[in-house]
Structures are given as C-alpha cells and as structure tokens.
C-alpha cells in the first residue's frame, strides 16, 4: 500500500517533468554551489529565455573541491553529464581529456572576442578551443577587514614580514589575525597557490621546468616559501580556535564582520559576502599575498571557470548556441553587473561603475604592467590531487614545510605518471 502510493506520486512527478520538457528544448546545466556562479547563471538563463521562449533550463548544483572534480569526471566518463556544465579552466580542464569528452567550440562566433590569455587555458592538446569564460578573472590573495586596519592604524603590507607584524598587532588587539577554515580542505591551499607571483618573480622558468620534471618544490627555495608561510602562520598562533572545523562561509563571515583581520582566499568570495553580509561589504579590502621583496609586489590571478558542452550530449547544437551567446558582449555585461568582482575576459566588456571596495583594491594590479601572474595551474597541466590534505597538515602543525614540499613533489609525480606525460 505504502509502495503503491509512492509510485503514484513519483509517476505524477515524472509526468509533470516530462510535460515541461515537451514544450521545447530543456538544457540541463551543472554548476557549483558558489553564490557567484548561481547569480551569473541566473541572469544569463533569464535573459536567454526571453530571447528564446522555446528553451528552458534545468539547473543542478554540485559540490566544489575534489568532490566536485570527481562528480564532473565520473559523469563525463559515464555519459551522465548535463548539456552544459561549468568547470575550472587550466590543469583541471586538461585532466578531463577534453579531446575525447568535450565538444569543439572553436567555430563559435563569439570565441573570436574572447581574450587570448583565456582561450589558451581552455584549449585541448589538439589545439581546439573547448570552453567559454564564465564569470570574472579572480585574484588569489588576502581579504582584510578595513575597519580593523583603520582602528589599529595598520598599512597594507608589501612584504611577508610586514604582514606577520600586522598579524601580531591584530592578535594583541584580541582579534583573530588570520582566519583559517580547514573544514573545507580546499581553502587551506591558498597560501601556497597564491604565492606563485612571488615564485615567478624569482624563478621565471619555474612553470616550464616543473612541467618538464626539472624543477621541484622541495629544491626550489622560492617555491617552498608558500609552505613556509603556512607553517609560520600556524606557529604564530594567530588563527581562530576552530580552524580545523570552520568552513569557507565561516572564514568569509569572520573577515567581513571584523571577527578576523585577514582571510586568504580567491576574490570569488566577494559574491557570498555581498549576499550574506551586504552591510559589511564596504569593510572588506583585498591585497596580493606579499613576498619577500617589496619592490616586486604583484597578484597571482585565476582564470575564470568556463562553460563546456560534453561531446555526447543529446542537445549539442542547442547547447552550443547558448554557450555562443554567453560569449557575447551583451551577455558578459549582464554577468558583470550581477557579479562585479573582477575583470571579465570578453573584449570591450566593462565592469559597472559601482563596484565593491575589494574589487577596487584588486583592479590596480591588473592595470599595472607585470602586476599579475597566472597561478601555476594555468601554466602547467600538473596539479597533485593531495595538495589540500598536505596544506592542512602544514597549517595544523602536523608536518613541516620542508617535508610537505617533498611529499607534494611525490604527489605531483604520481599525477604526471597517471597522465602519461613524457619525462616522468
């Protein structure tokens, strides 16, 4: 009896959903749970539906981090992928075996207006472009609370030593100096990944040598600094007491509301703060992760994620039409208005006048010649899958920076071997 009732309900639901599908084409879309992604897709689908009333969207959300990588990979491998999906560009895109799994987008009209720097990171080994930028470029650095800085008379640090000195002052004032949130393990990688501008400033060939199995983290002092920073922050005891359990959202709350002075993060956190703590947005500032040399101060940047179309989708043509439109200036400016948290990568697509303070803090790096460097994952196809566990270890005092760098080198080697790269 119970069984029968359940099946009637489900049958009714199935009937309902299929009747919606019957009206025209329904494009299924898979995106991550970041509020910025949701907001961007929301404005895009609304505008697109107005122009194309016969198209409707079925949006599904997935987890981020390595959990998300797994979902995307297995669903692609098993033919269960949505018609359009959002995923990282760069090395994570390369790990999808794009030449076999993704539709070729190089013939789309709007690809011509996508900036070269982005097209490069969504181009497969066969030279075909397979992704369309979705969202703004991001900076990886440190969010800071402007109120705390003003109250304590602090200056934005240009060197790591100044940064640590600020931390001591914030700690002395009874606040958390550096929010850490290892409950979401991926957030622990920032000090290492966002240090890449400084690595490149000292060792310009690092990316190429690293890919060719010539340069290692453990034997390149500049590259090891990221791990050492993490260790120093742990040893200075300037983080929140629940750093092992706190989550991404907790970190953003802390730095926005003034519980914490700093939170190392990508600028895509701005969207969440805008949504959850709009009154605190003006207190949120941002600076690049400082290195050892004040004269070589710059920002490590992340390319936006991209929209992709799986090669075996049932609606490849419709999906490509939608993705083509996403690459237009019109669509890009819609996104820029909804999520003004960084520069966009379509030609002539400008941010609105009214932007959050943290974005205003970030833009000068982009305007300065040589003020930015892409993160390593956009310069090399190899990123070890265990980095986030290793950085949690360093940040929790379980492993020393030196050991961690060596361990990460091994992890990288494993990834390279599994990718079947030459020289490994």
């Amino acid at each position: 009896m119970k069984f029968a009732r359940g099946s009637i309900l489900a049958a009714a639901m199935l009937a309902l959903s299929s009747s919606i599908a019957h009206a025209g084409v329904t494009l299924s879309v898979l995106i991550d749970t970041n509020p910025e992604s949701i907001a961007s897709l929301d404005v895009l689908t609304k505008a697109y539906k107005e122009k194309n009333p016969d198209v409707s969207f079925d949006v599904e959300q997935r987890a981020g981090g390595s959990e998300g990588d797994n979902i995307v990979k297995t669903r692609l491998a098993t033919g269960e992928m949505a018609d359009v999906f959002e995923y990282n560009s760069g090395s994570l895109f390369q790990a999808l075996k794009p030449e076999r799994t993704l539709a070729d987008l190089s013939d789309l009209k709007s690809e011509a207006d996508v900036r070269d720097i982005f097209r490069k990171v969504v181009t497969g080994p066969d030279g075909k472009v397979r992704g369309m930028p979705f969202g703004p470029a991001m900076g990886g650095g440190i969010f800071y609370n402007r109120k705390i800085y003003a109250d304590l008379g602090l200056k934005v640090p240009k060197t790591w030593a100044e940064f640590m000195a600020n931390n001591e002052k914030i700690k002395a004032a009874g606040k958390v100096a550096v929010a850490q949130t290892y409950g979401d393990t991926w957030t622990s990688q920032l000090f290492v990944l966002a240090d890449y501008y400084n690595v490149q400033a000292q060792v310009p060939n690092f990316a190429a040598d690293y890919t060719a199995n010539k340069a290692k983290y453990a034997t390149t002092p500049a590259a090891m600094r990221g791990f050492e920073h993490l260790e120093e922050v742990f040893k200075a005891k300037v983080s929140n007491a629940d750093f092992g359990a706190a989550k991404f959202n907790d970190g953003l709350r802390m730095v926005a509301t003034g519980e914490a002075g700093h939170y190392p993060m990508l600028t895509f956190g701005i969207g969440t703060i805008q949504q959850n703590y709009p009154d605190n947005l003006k207190d949120l500032g941002f600076f690049a992760q400082p290195g050892d040399d004040a004269s070589k101060n710059g920002l490590t940047i992340w390319m936006p994620a991209a929209l992709y179309v799986p090669a075996n989708s049932k609606n490849v043509a419709e999906a490509k039409k939608f993705v083509d439109w996403v690459g237009t200036k019109e669509a890009c400016e819609l996104m820029a208005k909804a999520v003004p948290s960084g520069p966009y990568l379509i030609k002539d697509c400008n941010l609105p006048k009214d932007i959050p303070q943290a974005v205003a803090d970030m833009l000068p790096y982009f305007d300065k010649d040589g003020g930015t460097a892409p993160a390593l994952e956009f310069l090399s196809p190899i990123k070890g899958p265990a980095l986030e566990q290793i950085t949690v270890e360093v940040g929790s005092g379980i492993r020393s920076a030196k050991d961690a760098a060596a361990l990460y080198d091994q992890d990288v080697q494993k990834q390279a071997k599994q990718l079947g790269l030459p020289n490994w």
């Binding site: 390595s66 075996k97 076999r100 290892y182 629940d242 899958p385 929790s396 379980i398 494993k414």
Partner: protein, 287 residues
C-alpha cells in the same frame, strides 16, 4: 522414480550463482588484471606492477594500513566486550530493560551518513555540544575530529555507538540459548557471580562471540562511510584508512591505482580473517 532426479535440484542454485558470478566473481578476477594497468575508462595500458609500487611509495599508505588495522581491532574489541556486558545486564531482569534494548538498537537503524553529519556537529571543537558540556564542568575539551592524534579514535567511538546495539542483540540471542541448568549446577557448586560469568557465560556464548568478532572485524577493515562522512580521512591523512585511500584514487581518476588498492585491501582482510576463522573452528573441535 529415476535416481537422476534429486528432490533438491541444482537449478535452485542457478539464479543466485549467475548474479554472484557476473557481478562479484568476474569483477574480482578482472581487478587483478586492471590493477596492472593505467586505466581511465577510455583506454587501458598495461604497466606491470607500477601501481603497486606507487601505492607502497605513498607515505600515507603505510599509515592508512596501520589505521585500518587499529580501526578494525578497536571497534570489534569494544563491540565484543561491551556487547556481552550489556547483554548480560539487559537479561538480568533489570528495571526498564525492554526500553533500553529498543533504544540501544536505534543507532543501528540510522544511516551512517546521518550519524556522521550529526556527530561532526556534536564534536565541533568550540561550539559542539560535547565540548560545551565539558567546558561547563571545567574541562577543556579536545578537538575531537581536528586533532590528528585523536580523529581516528573519535570515529571509532561513533562506530561503536552505532554498532553496539547489533552486537548486544546477537549476544542476547546467544544468552537465551544457554540452558539455565548450567547456572543452577554451578550455583550449587558455590560459584560466585564473577565465576559464573567467566566459567559459564563466556564459554557457552562462544558462537555469538564468533559471529560478533567476525562481522565487526570484516566491517571494520572495509569501513568507509563513517570515516568519509566525518573526517574525509583528515586532518591531513591522519584518519585515512585503506578504503578512503582507494576512494581518493578513484576520485582523482586513477582507476588502475584505485583497483590495485582494492586488491591490497582484499589481501589484508584474507591475512587477518582466514587464520582467525581456522582458529575459531579448531577450538570448536577441541571442545
């Protein structure tokens, strides 16, 4: 009646045999081959024992192996000892024992994921109820799931909490099948309660002990859900067990490597369980 037609025909076995062979034996055998390859579901490339070499080179793997054994032994020891004691307590005519039996069985029914999420919240280092309660009586509670030396044991505690009801029920059933005459005879001989427990109850409840130990050991060695729901193997790699290492390799798309891990887990289980089973059986013959 012809002799060839047994009233117990072998075709009765057929449906089960087909399903088991195709979906269990074939993949198990195939795993030996796939563990020797680089495999990404699109293409297979034979690379010899490279995956095994890789697996044993992973520094966290040794710890994972060690953790797997610790996890299995501690959970099954706790379930065996506590299960027997609780079963004795709950068959002693205690006030409200029916209610207690029922309540203790509840966790067995809840999904592991649900239990994992709930206890992750209860064990939050600063705001979790456990540490808030400890603070109220002046104890500074540890980071149950965030302290690398403690995380694995915290999961063990929750595993025991979840599984103790089943062990207790198995023991209650075992106790019920002991004839009261043994107790009468021992009591006439002047045995104390402690002696009754060790000389009569423990030996005679052995079939139940074998069941509890075997089930909980195998379960412990293969355990994945609870660890994944509570710590994802962390902090760092400190609560990784073989099953979570295998899952992480699967997650990273290293299917050959993941399958090699599976073969290693199989070998570990065989090395522990087979001698144990033989030992249990031999003791039975001696009795």
């Amino acid at each position: 009646m012809s002799r060839t037609k047994s009233p117990y025909p072998y075709w009765f076995i057929l449906p089960a045999a087909v399903i088991f062979t195709v979906l269990f034996l074939v993949p198990t055998l195939a795993s030996f081959w796939f563990s020797l390859t680089r495999w990404d579901l699109f293409s297979v490339e034979f690379i010899g024992i490279e995956n095994y070499r890789q697996f044993f080179r992973e520094p966290f793997l040794i710890q994972g192996l060690f953790n797997t054994v610790i996890y299995a032994v501690t959970t099954s020891a706790a379930k065996t000892v506590l299960g027997l004691l609780l079963a004795v307590l709950l068959t002693s005519g205690l006030w409200g024992q029916g209610f207690l039996r029922t309540v203790m069985f509840f966790p067995v029914l809840v999904s592991t994921i649900g239990v994992g999420i709930t206890f992750t919240v209860l064990m939050h280092p600063t705001r979790g109820i456990i540490n808030v309660a400890l603070a109220a009586i002046g104890i500074h509670g540890p980071g149950w799931l965030t302290d690398p030396t403690l995380a694995l044991y915290s999961v063990v505690l929750v595993d025991v909490w979840k599984g103790i009801g089943l062990a207790t029920v198995i023991y209650i059933a075992g106790l019920a099948s002991i004839s009261p005459e043994y107790y009468e005879a021992a009591r006439i001989d002047g045995a104390t309660r402690t002696q009754l427990f060790f000389r009569v109850t423990v030996p005679l409840v052995k079939p139940a002990t074998v069941t509890v130990v075997t089930l909980s050991l195998i379960g412990g060695l293969r355990s994945f859900d609870l660890i994944w729901a509570m710590t994802r193997g962390g902090p760092g790699f400190s609560s990784d067990v073989l099953a979570s290492v295998i899952y992480k390799q699967y997650q990273a798309g290293f299917y050959g490597l993941s399958t090699a891990g599976n073969v290693i887990l199989f070998a570990l289980i065989a090395v522990i369980i087979l001698p144990l089973t033989l030992w249990f059986n031999r003791k039975e013959v001696e009795l």
